[in-house]
Symmetry: C2
Subunit: 373 residues, 2 copies
């Protein structure tokens, strides 16, 4: 095999597929990037078997072939080559997979591995697909992914539900304390589809999406996989098995108390209150909702904070406690200047949602001892 | 005690003295910042007993007094107050050291501690002092501190020698593999002085120096301490006991081979060769010095790099091996476009120095097996 690249093209391709290369694994071949120039184009592939990325890289095939190269070393070598962006890089292998990377006056020799040992990406059925912009997908994932569960106790909580119904894409995540739901309108109606996508894959996907409003992307739904296609790149993830939680049952439109508040002001106060919250700390921030003003009070072993925020209130006065970090997460992912929060009683969740339901964040309250506030 | 500050003044003062607050200690009072307004000015002090910082903060003393406040909480509270820079912050204590921090609509209550429990900074004799710019001191420390030893096996190697002789300040560090020496001319002659200053204190000092060419600084040398005075701030460090290594004996002006080389070109090549060096790896980078060209070759378990750099050579051809990371460290801390490297035989150190001896970096070579190159 002999290939020629511009340094910059190769760097970009390596950065993209590296996102799917596991850092530790028992199968050392998975720590490699496959460089495949056996089909008339140059493909780079990273694959941790759950999640894989394939991208096509510009370059010249002088002699076709394929080789697997340890991702870290490969990436470090290319990154440290001379900085001129169109610097030419040549990669050559012999029939024992010895790989020679040449650029200007530097020659690197590393041991490559047989490209046929590398696990190919699964073939995905392309019959069911949805188009949207990279911007939209990046947004909708970022604005919900914070409330997936971190630990594996309940596998389904570590993923996000992607749901297509008519012309709407809904993404949902929940971790047992809160639910985050985002909806976007698509350019047309599609067949119904549902998939629980692992959070890990989505976190990596977000890093390589351009975020451009006019950069199109196609999502393919198949029985066991989801695939995202954009910019000559395919991202494939295995799905999480089973049926997702019945979220609709946990939502409610009724409320006894509604407040309208400046998002930035409230967020700043909430953020300050988290100073006194350590991990595993159960002390809630208590909101005291009255006419025109909401008091915020938290008391932990570390100290006490008291603050006030101006609000518009509709309905009853209310005292209710929350983990302030959960409120912070939701408010950080909303762009509206003013937000509405809907509540009922101290033991019922609050809902932060807009009228169009483009977002709906549910957060469970925390009991508090009313003697201490 | 009752004090009023502009948020920005207080933030800056906390950031400065926090550098001397140990993160873990058996004496919890040392994890505090002392706020001392008992002498007609407001002083903040951090002190880990080896190393302390005191700074004067602008503000109004409504009622004098002092209190020690846990540094992390204090710093977090102030940092998250509303962002307007001249936002007013009030700090008030009662006679049980309960501390109330008020800013706009937020009130924080934390448990302070008796300011008299806090260890004061040592009083330093101010008879022997040297003036220089913050820029110069910051430079000279940064350009040598990388070659102090990381572990405590030899205490003296964890510090830097500060030496005043006539109108010259010399700073020296060594770790058993290399020596770094920097010299600067002072504005006048001073009495001779010597001090081994702990690297930890210097690393923190560098972070709070402005680096301004016209920002003056005074260094005081006393028997057991060194003190740096600048911008209403005092930084005091205990010295490392004993006599420093006799570095002059390890230096030599003789050479058999001298090369002159573009620093940036060589640095880029050296940097690339470190890809193949893992910690505890003993494989050297072998330099092959010939007329007009220097070959660089490294072979480790990870792979091989071959490169060439154009040089001007005076004297003999030479093959000599080095840990490329040590060469990288030295070259990164030189600004000259062209540098000279002086060598003798494969078992003798190299010296990277300029004609004025403003810098002199000595690096010991590493044996290599000449069969493998």
């Amino acid at each position: 095999m002999k290939l020629q690249f511009k340094k910059n093209d190769l760097t970009n391709a390596i950065n993209i597929v590296s996102k799917a290369v596991p850092s530790k694994t028992t199968m050392s071949i998975l720590e490699c990037i496959l460089l495949d120039a056996s089909n008339g184009k140059i493909q780079l592939i990273g694959n941790d078997t759950e999640f894989g990325i394939e991208t096509v890289c510009e370059g010249t095939i002088v002699e076709s072939g394929k080789v697997a190269i340890e991702a870290k070393i490969f990436s470090e070598i290319i990154r440290r080559l001379p900085e001129t962006q169109d610097m030419q890089v040549t990669i050559e292998t012999d029939n024992r997979n010895n790989t020679i990377i040449t650029c200007e006056n530097s020659v690197f020799k590393i041991a490559g591995r047989d490209g046929n040992e590398f696990t190919a990406l699964p073939k995905i059925d392309k019959t069911q697909s949805v188009s949207l912009s990279q911007f939209t997908l990046k947004q909708i994932i970022s604005q919900t992914i914070f409330s997936i569960a971190m630990n594996d106790n309940n596998k389904k909580m570590t993923g996000e539900l992607f749901e297509i119904k008519d012309d709407t894409l809904t993404v949902t995540s929940l971790d047992g304390h809160r639910i985050s739901i985002r909806q976007v309108k698509l350019n047309k109606s599609y067949d119904t589809a549902k998939a629980i996508v692992p959070g890990k894959a989505l976190n990596e996907l977000v890093k390589i999406l351009s975020g451009g409003i006019y950069d199109e992307l196609v999502v393919y739904f198949s029985k066991n996989h989801i695939m995202f296609e954009f910019n000559n790149t395919l991202v494939v993830s295995r799905l999480i098995d089973g049926e997702y939680f019945h979220v609709a049952q946990m939502l409610s439109e009724d409320y006894e108390t509604k407040i309208v508040v400046n998002r930035k002001n409230l967020l700043d106060c909430l953020d300050r209150s988290t100073i006194f919250v350590r991990d595993n700390d159960k002390q809630p921030l208590v909101l005291k909702i009255e006419e025109n003003v909401m008091g915020l009070k938290i008391t932990t072993d570390l100290g006490t904070m008291d603050a006030e925020v101006a609000i518009k209130k509709i309905g009853n006065d209310l005292m209710i406690g929350f983990n302030p970090k959960f409120l912070v997460d939701a408010l950080r992912n909303i762009e509206d200047e003013e937000i509405s929060i809907y509540m009922s009683i101290p033991r019922s969740p609050c809902f932060i949602r807009d009228d169009d339901k483009t977002y709906n964040y549910m957060i469970l309250p925390v009991n508090f001892n009313s003697d201490t506030v």
